[in-house]
Symmetry: C4
Subunit: 209 residues, 4 copies
């Protein structure tokens, strides 16, 4: 995929998520793979409102998180590289919604949460029935990104079927073969997290846990 | 109604529902009858974001769910045919909202829920007073669509006055004489489902049931 | 105010309220006084999506609720005339939001609810301090509009300072000297109703009352 | 920064906040510093819908809250001057959201609330880790603005690290080095207030306190 096309997709995704309130402040970061060998990602810059991105603001990054122009990509860029490597993903998306944040804490101690029985699970790649149990792992937050990358790598290896994960009191990471699939995954998981949040005791009355 | 006009209506409906968050991911499917004998429906394609539809993406489908061009309509296309047959509907709409999903589960065991006393019920065709008791049936989800069609057919026969129904942990189906009426029905029912969800013990504290 | 200008204002108000989800389905009705003697109102037509109004759809109505062209104005048009008369209003707005509906029921038995202490109350005409107690009357719903008009008239007389009222399990009516003030009143009251709904036992756990 | 550029920024901020429902009615007020010595602020006028501002409506104000043209700036203009002085801010923003209002009351008696452990805290200037405890002071509302200014001044002195504060049953004040940073602060704090509101007993069941 050309860099220009990838940049346009990232701008579109940012607008969509901003409308939902999932990238408030300058939160969130998105990437699209433009080349695999060597690895080149189109990635959103740091400290920008993701709902107001312009295609010319998108950065091109290599697997060490370095950008030719010297601009600073998202602080979590290495996590994107980790996920691309572990899952062969074509796009990685990170959003900060109310419900993903609430549930990452409500279920944090258990290391994850199960979502099962919902038709919307079929929006996750490879899932063909509502009778599916999706385990959404939760890892602890950590400002040491290389260290967090290691934890994420181990978790993705341990749970090869997981379509996303939460970072505690932080947000959601998900991915897809391309950006459209990744956006679909964000929307499906955000929807399901609100469902679980409103229908489970942990989600609706977390102070009681 | 011409196919082109039907396609434009479906695009409009998709945008409206997408703004409300009722067709997240690539969920939802909508159809409009363009011809009755033989039956021809304009229907949304599978795996597309319903808020971003283009008129040229809309498919023309017959009563067996087959499309001349070979493209794949929504997996649930046969349910649309069922509803058109049972109700003489001119349009069928299927949405996945938070509240329809929550209540489909909260009231699932009872096979349906009653909504009564609200002025908004008058937005349902044939209802002239708020002193109306609307029974919204709930059927179990099933990946075998032909089998589910049979269950839906029997339920529609059993409840000839129902304006819509829920599929458990899945979403809402409703219809109308034309697309505008069907859109009105979706909005009225989604509104009422949120009202019931927030004001009933089953809806607001489902983990206690 | 010219009819054309009034029509443009009504179209604008409809769009604004539709974005908030306060006029779902074809609910809601709005009017602007274009002439006082004889009374002429620009009013929204029945059975239209209030977020999609066109200026040429707006009707001109007299004090008996009759329209020269024969088109049917909103069923509740007589309530608009009542409020214009009782309050000397220049515009009357009726919306159907989740929280106004929930609270109209939660506090219905008491005939009204008090909202006090909030800075936002200063958005109501004549209120200069947050230390204000606003009584929002609630009347029972009634499909007999002339009869309901009489009840509304008596209620407006009994509570000359009320800036709006709720109809039980129905929605909110408010008004203003002109449409902008009326829109401001809708937004202030809808905001405050959500505040009360989320912070009072009656609003948040109505099934316990 | 030129006055024209400041005015455009304020118009943009107003639209963004209006979409979120944080400036309903004619609530909210925003300012940008255009000159420091003497102090000149570009500020929103009173009694306008902040989501519909035009650049030509923005007022230029001095440190006494006076405007050359005679138009009336926001009633709370002196609070803006206070904050600019105390924090050296380049922009000051005041919003009225549901959650800021609810929490200002739920935690009002304690004079403030603590928000800690969330990644989103890093959207606040100077905060580099989620392991940060942000104290958000709450002051009592007061219609005597000069008196309230004094209280705000003392509170800002007492809590030099606070990035914002709440006025009880009123709303949120925050600021930034420039408008973009201030907008980021509003969004981060509004997000975190909803998180706290939904996950703490005080926020979710305030009637029990």
């Amino acid at each position: 995929m050309s860099f220009a096309a990838a940049a346009e997709q990232l701008v579109w995704a940012g607008r969509r998520f901003d409308q939902r309130g999932w990238v408030l402040g300058t939160s969130g970061n998105f990437s699209v793979v433009v080349e695999r060998e060597p690895l080149r990602l189109a990635i959103t810059p740091s400290a920008t409102f993701k709902g107001q991105l312009r295609a010319d603001e998108i950065l091109e990054m290599d697997e060490r998180g370095l950008v030719a122009t010297g601009a600073r990509p998202s602080a979590e860029a290495l996590l994107h590289v980790e996920i691309v490597r572990a899952r062969g993903a074509g796009a990685v998306l990170h959003t900060h919604s109310i419900w993903s944040t609430l549930l990452s804490e409500a279920h944090g101690a258990g290391g994850g949460l199960t979502i099962d029985g919902y038709e919307m699970l079929k929006g996750l790649e490879g899932v063909r029935t509502h009778d599916h149990r999706e385990w959404l792992p939760i890892v602890e937050n950590d400002q040491d990104i290389p260290r967090l990358s290691g934890v994420v790598r181990a978790m993705l290896e341990r749970y090869p079927d997981a379509h996303g994960f939460l970072i505690r009191r932080h947000g959601l990471y998900t991915w897809g073969a391309d950006l459209l699939q990744a956006v679909r995954h964000v929307e499906i998981l955000e929807f399901l997290l609100e469902i679980v949040g409103r229908s489970s005791k942990e989600g609706a009355e977390p102070w009681r846990s």
